[in-house]
Structure formats: structure tokens, C-alpha cells
């Protein structure tokens, strides 16, 4: 329980800090820390495979992609990005926490206790019951790869009608 609370608190702190950092690289680190905390939470409840995915894909791959994009775009205008001054952040946080607390209390009073679910293994569920999701995942990965190729293609010169 202490570990869980610690992870959740650190997650929120990391998320708030990444919004405050001026330097995008620190923000990327904040995101990675948030992902690691989330993956520890997932691990604690026996969602091992999801935890590994979160750790390698979100904390690893997205951070790498993000940092390489930051260096690829080399933007000089990185200072003073906050549209709202930072002093609004605390009241915002208090409001958000209030809304979230109210929501959870309301939810807890309306959601009944659940009967025990039938035992399944992850393999059964993933490859058996939800095989249409696997098809969808393949499709979305294809769409993502082709999409990146299409967006980053060399533009045809001349003959434009737009």
C-alpha cells in the first residue's frame, strides 16, 4: 500500500513538474519518470506484460522519439511558453483535485461490489477472446508507419493546384 501511494504521488509530481520545466529535455525526463511510476503500479497488481510494455514503449521509445524530434526541429523559441502564468497552476491543481475527489466519492457510492470474475490467463484473453483487437493493432501499426512515410516524403515539385 505504501509503495502504491508513493508511486501515485510521484506520478502526479512528475506530471506537474514536466509542465513547469522550461527545457523540453527535462520535460521528456519527467514524462519518462511518470511512465516508470505507472509501470510499477501496473506490476504491483499482476499486470506484468502491460507493465513491461509501458516501461519499454512509453518510457523508452516515446522519450527517444521525443528527444530526437526536439533536436531535429532545433527551435530557438523555447522560452516563456506558458500561456497562463505559472501562478495559475496551483489553483488549477486544487480545482482539478477537488473535481477528481468529488468524482471518485460519487463513483464509489454508486458502484456496487463486484462478484468474482472467471479466471483466465492473459494469453487466453489476448489471443483468444480479443483476437479482433490483434487485427486492429496490426492495422494501426501499418497506418502509423505508412502515415509517417507519407508525411515525411519528399514533396513533388511543381504542378500544384492547391
Amino acid at each position: 500500500m505504501t509503495l502504491l501511494i508513493g508511486c501515485l504521488v510521484l506520478l502526479v509530481v512528475a506530471v506537474v513538474l514536466l509542465g513547469l520545466f522550461q527545457d523540453l529535455l527535462y520535460s521528456a525526463l519527467g514524462l519518462a519518470v511518470a511512465s516508470i511510476m505507472l509501470s510499477i503500479v501496473l506490476f504491483q497488481f499482476g499486470a506484468n506484460i502491460a507493465a513491461v510494455f509501458e516501461l519499454s514503449v512509453c518510457a523508452g521509445l516515446i522519450t527517444v522519439l521525443f528527444v530526437s524530434t526536439v533536436s531535429l526541429t532545433k527551435d530557438s523559441d523555447q522560452k516563456g511558453e506558458s500561456r497562463l502564468p505559472a501562478r495559475f497552476l496551483l489553483p488549477m491543481l486544487v480545482v482539478f483535485a477537488g473535481v477528481a475527489f468529488g468524482g471518485v466519492t460519487w463513483l464509489a457510492s454508486h458502484v456496487a461490489a463486484a462478484p468474482a470474475a472467471a479466471p483466465h490467463t492473459f494469453q487466453d484473453v489476448f489471443w483468444g477472446q480479443r483476437s479482433s483487437d490483434v487485427l486492429g493493432q496490426i492495422a494501426i501499426i501499418l497506418a502509423g508507419v505508412l502515415g509517417m512515410l507519407a508525411v515525411l516524403r519528399v514533396k513533388l515539385q511543381g504542378g500544384h493546384h492547391d
Binding site: L107, H110, A117, L135, G136, A139, R153, L156, G159, H160
Partner: protein, 442 residues
């Protein structure tokens, strides 16, 4: 050669519709409602694929374009075939990822900005949908449509958590359908995309991603609670009025069409919100009609832009003298969208208005009639400025659009006329099975 090969591939989903009627395995299933949307997706998808053979030449990256178009069609087919709310979300995301890239396909300022706006608003929308899914899972422990319906009918439906989830779904899918308070992305994304993609987005994507999901959830799972229907009716009225009024002031050909899409989505929601037999049949029929005539009009606007290089309707005039096919097919589309008798659009609007009259919603009926006339007004104005009248001497050298583009628009124009002339058999073959899925029995 590559193009012909790829467009043959695009035929595959279109051909499958007529052959596979029964369930394909345990995870995909076809019923009347899915079938209607499958037909809509694949007819429009095929016409857009044919149209793109000539159109996409000047953008480059033909193979990538066709692959993404096929993935878009696949995602939409997946959305209408799945029987599980999380899979619906997943296939929606497949179609959306393809759509984000295709909107930015010209790699120019407008397209890129529109694509970013579309992506960011969609992320918030799908986030809300996922929270709704989590709430439903938390209360019932299942995601399957049929099991959910049983769980909701068995007393769990009184739980206010479901109403919260319903609100999240209305907001999330409403944004995908570009219903008025959530419409900000559509007038940017639809005009900036290449014309066949505008046709796909306006004709099909907003209907499958928005209307189909709303219909499947609120009629198929929630069995049409009165509060939700009232919200849908209200959103529909606002969309119809705001879309039509803003469209009236547009000078950009494709932007006008985009706002009119918002207005026509309003009609569909009104039909669904009324919720009686006439209203639902009219709404579903309007889904079919709007998909066909709006993609026709978008493809024609693309043909005009392809030849003239502009979208500003003030610069055009008398184009019919030079682009006969485009002019005549546009007239078909205009008459259908305005609800003139022999065309499909007349019958669907008639059914929606009849539904309002039967439900004794006199204000709704009056507004629907009034804005139908208003639509006729601004589309006739568009038609007169672009195609009729004296030829603007600037365009005296203009040629007709290339062959593949003409074939696609002629096919769509013929479909809109045929749907109107044979509306009885279309109604019996396609629309009524779908309505029976929603309303059960009768």
C-alpha cells in the same frame, strides 16, 4: 499500372458486401445496421479510389496514398463489424490515424494545421470515450454489446453511472460527428484535405465514427432512454441551424460544403432524437443519401479546383459551358441535398419531417422544413455562381476533368437519382432491416 492494381484492391471490400451476409467468425458480425453502413462506406470508398487515379498525380506518393485510403476504409469497416465497445474504439482509431495523415497529405500550411487541430481535439474526445468505457466496465464487468444490453435491462440501467458514461459518449462521438458545440475542427479539416479525402471525411467518416457509434450505443445498448434522445434532438436542431446559417456566408466552395455537412448531420440527429419509426428510418436513409450526394459535391469541387486552381466561388461563373459533366452532376447533387422530389434527399427529409409531425413536435417540423428551403436557397446560389450564367472570360481555355474523375462523379450522380427513383426497394432492402435492429420488432 500501380494505380489500377491498387484500385482493384479497393474493389475487394466493396465486393465483399454483397457476398458475406452472415457472421464472419465469432468476433465480427453483420446485422442490418452494419450492412447499411458497410454499403455506404464501400460505395463511397470505391468512387473516391477511382477518382484519385487522376487526381492524386500532382501530390506524389501514389502508393502511400492508396495504402492509407485502404487502411481508412478498413478501419471504418472494422468499426461497423465489431461487437465490442473497446474494439469499436480501436478500429475508430485506425481510421482516424489514416485520416490525420490524409488531411495533411498536400503537405501545405492549411492541411497541416487542420490535421493538428483534428488530431488534438480527437485525442480529448477518445479520452472521454475511454473513460466512459472504463465506467461501463467498472459497473457491469463486460464490454460486449449484447451482454451490456442484458445487464442494462436487468436493473443496472437505473445506475446514474451509466448516464455519466452516456454523457461522455455523446461528447466524444459528438466531436467525431462534428455536432455543433464540438464542430471546430470540421470546417478546417474538410476543405484543406485533397478532394477525395474531403469526400470520404464528409461522406463517411463523420457518419461511421459519430452517428454509427451513437446509434449503436444509444439504440443498441441503452435502448433509447428519453433523456439521451432529448439531448440528441437539441444538438441536432442547433447543428442544423448553425451549420446552415454559417454556410450561407461562405465564399469558399469546399468550406460551404463542410458547413452544410454540419447542418445535414443535424437532420440525422433530429431524426434519431425524435425516435419513432419515421424518424429513425428517415435518419438512416439520410445517412445513405448524404454520404452519396455530399461526396459527389466534394468530388466536383475537387474537379473544379483541379482545373481552375481556386476554391473561391466569386471568381467562377459559367463553368458549365466548359465542364459539362461536372456541371450536370453538381446539379444532381444540389437538387438532392435541397430535397427536390425525384432525388434521394427528398424522401429522407420527408421521413424525418413526418416523424416530427407524428411525434407532434410542430416546432421541429417547421424548422426542418424551413431550413430545407434555406438549404435549397444557398445551394442554388452556389450553383448559379459556379456553373450557370455567363462564362468568366478567365476560364475560356478550361477543359473537362480527366476521365477517371468523371467516371466517379457520374457513378455517384446516377446512384443519387436511382436511390430516389427506387426509394421503395432501397427502403425495404437496406433501411428497414437497419431500423428493425434499432427499434426491435414491428
Amino acid at each position: 499500372m500501380l494505380a489500377t492494381l491498387v484500385s482493384c484492391l479497393a474493389l475487394l471490400p466493396a465486393a465483399r458486401v454483397t457476398t458475406v451476409w452472415q457472421a464472419m467468425g465469432t468476433h465480427f458480425a453483420v446485422d442490418g445496421l452494419s450492412l447499411l453502413f458497410l454499403v455506404v462506406v464501400n460505395v463511397v470508398g470505391l468512387c473516391c479510389a477511382v477518382y484519385s487515379i487522376d487526381y492524386i498525380g500532382h501530390y506524389g506518393g501514389r502508393a502511400k496514398f492508396y495504402s492509407l485510403l485502404l487502411l481508412l476504409v478498413m478501419g471504418l469497416n472494422g468499426v461497423v463489424l465489431v461487437r465490442d465497445i473497446f474494439s469499436l474504439y480501436l478500429f475508430l482509431e485506425v481510421a482516424s490515424v489514416a485520416a490525420y495523415v490524409l488531411v495533411a497529405y498536400n503537405l501545405e500550411f492549411d492541411g497541416i494545421e487542420a490535421s493538428l487541430k483534428y488530431l488534438l481535439l480527437s485525442v480529448v474526445a477518445t479520452g472521454m470515450v475511454l473513460i466512459g468505457i472504463a465506467l461501463i466496465l467498472m459497473t457491469t464487468g463486460t464490454l460486449d454489446f449484447a451482454e451490456l444490453k442484458v445487464a442494462l435491462a436487468g436493473g443496472a440501467g437505473a445506475n446514474p453511472v451509466f448516464m455519466l458514461a452516456a454523457g461522455l459518449f455523446v461528447a466524444g462521438f459528438g466531436l467525431k460527428a462534428a455536432v455543433v458545440p464540438f464542430h471546430a475542427w470540421l470546417p478546417d479539416a474538410h476543405p484543406s484535405a485533397p478532394a477525395p479525402i474531403s469526400a470520404m471525411l464528409s461522406g463517411v467518416v463523420i457518419k461511421v465514427a459519430g452517428i454509427y457509434a451513437i446509434v449503436r450505443l444509444f439504440y443498441g445498448v441503452y435502448t433509447a432512454p428519453a433523456q439521451v434522445l432529448r439531448v440528441l434532438l437539441l444538438l441536432g436542431l442547433i447543428s442544423m441551424i448553425v451549420g446552415a446559417v454559417i454556410a450561407y456566408f461562405q465564399t469558399d466552395f469546399k468550406r460551404l460544403l463542410a458547413y452544410s455537412s454540419i447542418s445535414q448531420i443535424g437532420y440525422i440527429l433530429i431524426g434519431l432524437g425524435i425516435g419513432n419509426w419515421f424518424g429513425v428510418v428517415g435518419a438512416l436513409f439520410h445517412v445513405l443519401n448524404h454520404a452519396i450526394f455530399k461526396s459527389l459535391l466534394f468530388l466536383n469541387s475537387g474537379a473544379v479546383q483541379y482545373r481552375t486552381g481556386t476554391r473561391d466561388i466569386r471568381e467562377m461563373g459559367g463553368l458549365e459551358n466548359r465542364m459539362r459533366v461536372t456541371g450536370v452532376t453538381s446539379t444532381f447533387g444540389t437538387l438532392s441535398i435541397a430535397g427536390v422530389p425525384p432525388f434521394g434527399g427528398f424522401f429522407s427529409k420527408l421521413f424525418i419531417i413526418l416523424g416530427a409531425v407524428v411525434a407532434k413536435q410542430w416546432t421541429v417540423a417547421f424548422l426542418a422544413v424551413f431550413f430545407s428551403i434555406f438549404t435549397l436557397g444557398y445551394f442554388l446560389y452556389l450553383q448559379r455562381r459556379v456553373f450557370f450564367g455567363k462564362l468568366n472570360e478567365k476560364w475560356s481555355e478550361l477543359k473537362e476533368a480527366p476521365a477517371a474523375m468523371s467516371i466517379a462523379v457520374v457513378a455517384l450522380a446516377a446512384t443519387t437519382l436511382l436511390v430516389g427513383v427506387f426509394f421503395d426497394s432501397v427502403l425495404r432492402g437496406l433501411i428497414e432491416p437497419a431500423a428493425r435492429v434499432l427499434l426491435g420488432g414491428n
